[in-house]
Amino acid sequence: MRRYLWPCVVLALVIAYPLVLSTPFQQRLGALVLLYAIAASAWNVVGGYAGQVSVGHVVFFGCGAYAAMGAYTHFALSPLVGIPAGIVLAVAIAAIVGVPTLRLSGHYFSMATIAVAELVRLVVTNTDYLGAAVGLSGPTVPRNMFDLSFISALPYYYLFLAVLSITLLITWAMTNSRMGYYLRAIKDSERAARSLGAPTSRTKLYAFMLSAGLTSVAGALYAMLVGFVDPESGLGILISVKILIMAALGGAGLLFGPLVGAAILVPLEEISNSLLGGKGAGLTFVVYGAIILLIARFQPGGILTLVKRLWDRRGKPEKAVVAAGAGHAP
């Protein structure tokens, strides 16, 4: 039973959070943490499990955001209706980028994702139908419940929590399926996996498409929360950066890694923004850059891997702890 104690406590805390810390700022902060946790978990499918570093994930985020807002602006439908369209679009773009690049070395994939994100951002900025530089807005006054336009962040919080649970469930199911075995084999040694008959390119492509679809949902939810989307907030490269760094900081390729990353970085950014105002924007990304650099240099496995290693060492004899040189009492 003790195995399930801590997960239950954490889950209860997460559910109770917006009711206990109930100022609008705190509720919104909670919703944003969950939202970025969804996006980072989605990135994790291709970046962590498949080991293919996408630096342009914002393009899928933007697909969802624009589809949701477009459904309202152009067809007067609920933004929810836009979600499937956003998923289809994101998966199609993922296929277009993934088919040629996932056969090549991982660098090509990363470069292509940057290029496609910039390409889409430029095209959208110059397309009047998509609001050009101004962007698209959602419903300001909700017509009915399905417009999902609330003043309080509380409903969004629980909506995002539900979507995050589904995302994690899908990821977990994937790792325990045949595809999960292939992905692990590919990550260990792609050449060995291929020589044993694992369909490497196709598996990576499926992971990329799955990741794109999930990211698009996150984008749609984000647009509903803030009520609009423009090229900067829906397609700017910095969104990609945030998504990527959260997953990498927490632990890429671990189920709960992106959650840990989002829980650390989103409050950090929101608080530094409210303290420093506009001047903090540049500084935040200086810190982000430094964090990514340090992770890559010293701890590519992220925080969770580090914690796990220290945890495993806990029961070992004193000598092992001293040898590690860390002042970490058992």
């Binding site: 040629p100 991982g106 940057i114 390409l119 540049g282 500084l283 990514i292 890559a296 590519p300």
Partner: protein, 287 residues
């Protein structure tokens, strides 16, 4: 062919030579160590800012700014190699990409924080006036940038193919362990490669600073241009980068003139993606 068109093509070739210069740095490092430097465009941006700072502090133009920018960036290249690259080279792909990408963010937003997001520029006439050849009007600053970039890129090619230093570097690229057995230090050679690659970006940055807009995020665009150039020219090939750089300069200028200024980047990115589909080994390269 209309006269304006010739003018546009010449302008594209001159800019393309600068693209070739900084892209050859990227291709050198990629070919030698199989590392893609995602901060490459931001190195160029730093070169531009060095030229700008030199001008605002001492009031001197690119003649002093360019060598200094080359030196500063070459030093940075060595620091980056020993501080970061040497360790992440052996690590997983995730660490390689995140490492240089984090460096890119760090550089870009440090400059952003320090200088602000405003567009800066050097005075128009810092490299005197405009030349007229057979009716073609070429700004002296662009001519200087294009010619110097072309010469240095060719010099880089000669350095790699005709000197003993170049042979040593190629030996390390081929097989670092075997090179070490022959008495060549891979570490030193790789540091030299980083110094050359980063120095080239510094020079290129200082050269275009005289007529390009100077802004912290310019490195993102230039970085993608470098990727396109390298993937078009075939990785590891300086002559390939030269041809591809000139070609991209011309394509960019032509599409800017024929379709509209906002579409010139779109055309280049679309070209890149279509190349990945149809000819990933580049124009002249082998895979």
């Amino acid at each position: 062919m209309s006269f304006v068109l010739v003018q546009v093509i010449v302008g594209g070739l001159l800019l393309g030579a600068v693209y070739a210069l900084f892209s050859s740095g990227l291709t050198l490092v990629w070919g030698m160590m199989n590392i893609v430097n995602f901060a490459h465009g931001d190195f160029v941006m730093l070169g531009m800012y060095v030229a700008y700072v030199v001008f605002t502090l001492f009031g001197v133009g690119p003649l002093a700014g360019a060598p200094l920018a080359t030196l500063v960036l070459a030093t940075l290249g060595i620091v980056v190699y020993f501080g970061l690259i040497r360790d992440i080279m052996k690590g997983p792909m995730l660490a390689q990409i995140l490492g240089t990408f984090g460096l890119a963010l760090l550089l870009r937003y440090s400059v952003f924080w320090w200088f602000g997001a405003n567009f800066l520029s050097l005075p128009q006439n810092i490299v005197g006036g405009t030349f007229a050849f057979w009716g073609l009007r070429i700004e002296a600053s662009r001519l200087l940038a294009g010619v110097v970039a072309l010469l240095v890129t060719l010099g880089l090619h000669l350095l790699l193919t005709r000197t003993s230093l170049g042979s040593k570097m190629l030996a390390v690229a081929e097989d670092a362990t075997a090179a070490q057995l022959m008495g060549i230090r891979p570490d030193t050679m790789q540091a030299v490669a980083w110094a050359i690659a980063a120095g080239a970006t510094g020079l290129a940055g200082a050269l275009i600073a005289t007529f390009f807009y100077i802004v912290p995020t310019v490195g993102e665009t230039l970085g993608i241009v470098a990727f396109v150039t390298v993937s078009l020219g075939g990785f590891g090939s300086v002559p390939g980068a030269l041809v591809a750089g000139l070609l991209i300069g011309v394509i960019e200028s032509l599409s800017g003139y024929l379709i509209g200024a906002v579409y010139k980047d779109i055309v280049v990115y679309a070209l890149f993606l279509s190349f990945l589909w149809f000819r990933p080994q580049g124009l002249m390269g082998k895979t």
